[in-house]
Amino acid sequence: MSEIISSDNLRKLAAEWIEQGVRVAAPQHAGGRVLYLPLKNSADLLLDAFIHPANSAKEFLFPKSETLYAYRVEGQDVKLVEAPGTETPQVLLGVRPCDAAAFPILDHIFNWDCADELYNRRRRNTTIVVLACSAHDANCFCTSVGLGPASERGADVLLVPLTNDTFEVRSVTEKGRSLFAGKTQTDNVAAMAAAGPEPRFAPDAVRKFSAANFEHPIWGEHALACVGCGACAHTCPTCHCFDIVDEHGERVRNWDSCQFSLFTLHASGHNPRPDQGSRQRQRILHKFSIYPDKFGEILCTGCGNCTRNCPAGLGVLPLLIAIEHEEHLPA
């Protein structure tokens, strides 16, 4: 027996949550594309006919700009004012498995040694309702990094599309179970997950190659077309690099990107990563070598957003395929 819910009832449920003051974020149409945005009207909720939103769901746990604390300078003295932390419950509704899988991965970095309470507090107050994929595009490569169209990693609930506008509701955690308790019907149908993309490369080969080839022409060659913007990092579910600045009496953390030329620039003017090639290398190394070495997990969920959003059509995938090819060349 399985639990099911119709899309109408799901929308009603979303409307109820909004009514109760829950912050609901979900894929919607905006700016000529699909984006994860706070849901204002449950009719705007998208449940099919999109591959992956142009942004990632990380911004609801790790916002693009966040006040760490405020301060007031009073003569020679300073008063610190703690950031007004919010305990508002939130539901990420209809996020793709590749977005949900990013959260357990990000938990490592925000909690090794010292815990980032700002992230953790949002994490605790968030329930993640994953919508399994029914299609993929040429940029998707979840199956290459150990995930898939119906992966439960990071999900509290997994919705798998059935025919006739209905979803099978698979509760993964207690949090998810209680969210949908009493809201579903039972049925004896079981949803079949769609087939994922064919695996495109082996992460181990990438790790081996990038660890052994810090200096290699492939980095510079692939970075030729890179314009040095942060579109890849900002739309990536796992990229988490940030900057800290003072603005208007607050200390604020903002998303940053390893592709910006200022990212590693020293005050002396020296820059350890002086060109786009070394910055692209850092992005690959961080995801496929540094992070796995430290935390045992690849810092990539194969969502394909970096390629989808790259103005120059790059992203990690073409480079990863090229590396795999390079790794298998006879020595």
Binding site: Q28, H29, A30, G31, G32, R33, L35, L37, K40, N41, D44, A54, N55, K64, S65, G220, L224, A225, V227, G228, C229, G230, A231, A233, H234, T235, D243, V245, E247, H248, V252, N254, W255, S257, F260, L262, D275, Q276, T307, N309, C310, P311, A312, G313, L314, P318
Partner: protein, 393 residues
């Protein structure tokens, strides 16, 4: 609110005329409201638009900008240059829906203490009626529909042929073309089939300043109808030598279409401002718009400078507003309308509309065609005695 609203007015004034006019008002005991904070600069030509934006950002309810009358400038022409810039800056603020009643321009001489008094009084009274300035909240009902990225189709065979000829004749060392997913850098004639013209969103002139590309030698680039204008501007601004970059044109030129801009301008200003607030709310400051722009070749962008911080680096509503105003205005008389910024924006902000507003003002007010003649003086770098000034008191 029980308290009476006391507007805060920031007056940016030049040192030689308006400041002395204000001073004279004081010494001759002409009273004017204490709501005004005077910021003295050497010349109205030095009053950067970023100062105006900053003033609103940190709490001004209205801004007064004032300098010497035409012909009176201590530095001869600073006020004429200032007038030029305001002529183009105002259309940009208009398309953004900024409340133009909060921004005042005046010529006030050192002798016109009474005019200073009267102007300040008027500005304070008008602003009192308007209430406090607030950056608007985005619309609450839905999100902007935005523009679908549209794809043009180009004939790759002709471009391949031309690229092959150029490389074989050693006319150029590299042809930068469009491949299946983006730019390709072709250095050997046998590789020209990589030019497939499938993804043509970028303006390839953006790559010309790159160290790695310069190192390849003489370059030819594929240009869509609007793209080649960028080479004209780069030459005008001494970034490339005349004729140094060859072009392989693709596609037929279309007609300029301002219908989207007109539709936006048909909305009341407050609605425009709120609509843009919703659009800018999505901006993450990935700077893709800047990085793909052939005109954004500055070694270090003003947005990346921090002494002082002119534009907040945080992707907050006010920070994003300041960034997009700056980006668009730094392209005044320079944007060639290639649309690469729109193509690049991952969150689908229709940045083109801002550029179009300034572009149209440049064309209409100065009869200037940005991408036509590299020798023609940039409209933002010159001035004319006949420049209109009906917006200046």
């Amino acid at each position: 609110m029980s308290e009476v609203f006391e507007p805060r007015i920031v007056a940016f004034v030049c040192n030689w005329c308006t400041y002395l006019g204000a001073d004279l008002a004081g010494t001759t005991r002409l009273e004017y409201p204490a709501n005004v904070r005077i910021v003295r600069l050497p010349c109205s030509g030095r009053i950067d638009f970023n100062l105006l934006i900053k003033a609103f950002e940190i709490g001004a309810d209205a801004v007064l900008v004032s300098g010497c009358h035409p012909g009176d400038c201590h530095y001869n022409t600073g006020n004429y240059h200032a007038r030029r810039r305001w002529m183009l800056f105002r259309p940009l603020l208009e398309v953004l829906g900024f409340d133009m009643r909060r921004l005042h321009f005046a010529w006030i001489s050192a002798a016109e203490s009474r005019k200073f008094q009267q102007t300040v009084k008027q500005v304070v009274e008008e602003t009192r009626q308007l209430g406090p300035y607030q950056y608007p909240a985005p619309p609450t009902d839905s999100y902007g529909a935005g523009r679908e990225p549209h794809k043009n189709h180009f004939d790759a065979a002709a471009a391949q042929q031309r690229a092959r000829e150029m490389l074989e004749a050693k006319e150029v060392d590299v042809v930068i073309g469009y491949g299946s997913s983006g730019p390709v850098f072709i250095r050997r004639p046998e590789d020209v089939d990589q030019i497939t013209c499938e993804e043509t969103g970028l303006n390839l002139a953006a790559y010309l300043g790159r160290k790695e590309v310069r190192a390849m030698g003489r370059a030819a680039i594929l240009t869509k109808p609007m793209d080649a204008g960028a080479l004209v501007v780069l030459e005008r601004e001494s970034q490339i030598e005349s004729g140094a970059v060859k072009t392989i044109p693709i596609g037929e030129p279309g007609k300029g279409d301002f219908s989207d801009l007109d539709a936006l301008l048909a909305l009341p200003p407050a609605e425009r401002m709120a609509w843009w607030a919703g659009e800018f709310a999505r901006c993450t400051r990935c700077y893709a718009c800047r990085q793909v722009c052939p005109m954004c070749y500055c070694e270090r962008c003003i947005a990346d400078k921090n002494r002082p911080v002119v534009i907040d680096t945080s992707p907050t509503p006010v920070g994003n507003f300041a960034w997009h105003v700056t980006r668009a205005f730094h392209l005044a008389g320079r944007c060639v309308g290639c649309g690469a910024c729109n193509h690049a924006c991952p969150v689908g902000i229709d940045l083109r509309l801002l550029n179009m507003a300034v572009h149209r003002a440049v064309a209409e007010q100065f009869d200037f065609n940005v991408g036509a003649d590299p020798k023609a003086e940039s409209p933002i770098g010159c001035w004319a005695p006949a420049d209109h000034e009906e917006f200046i008191r």
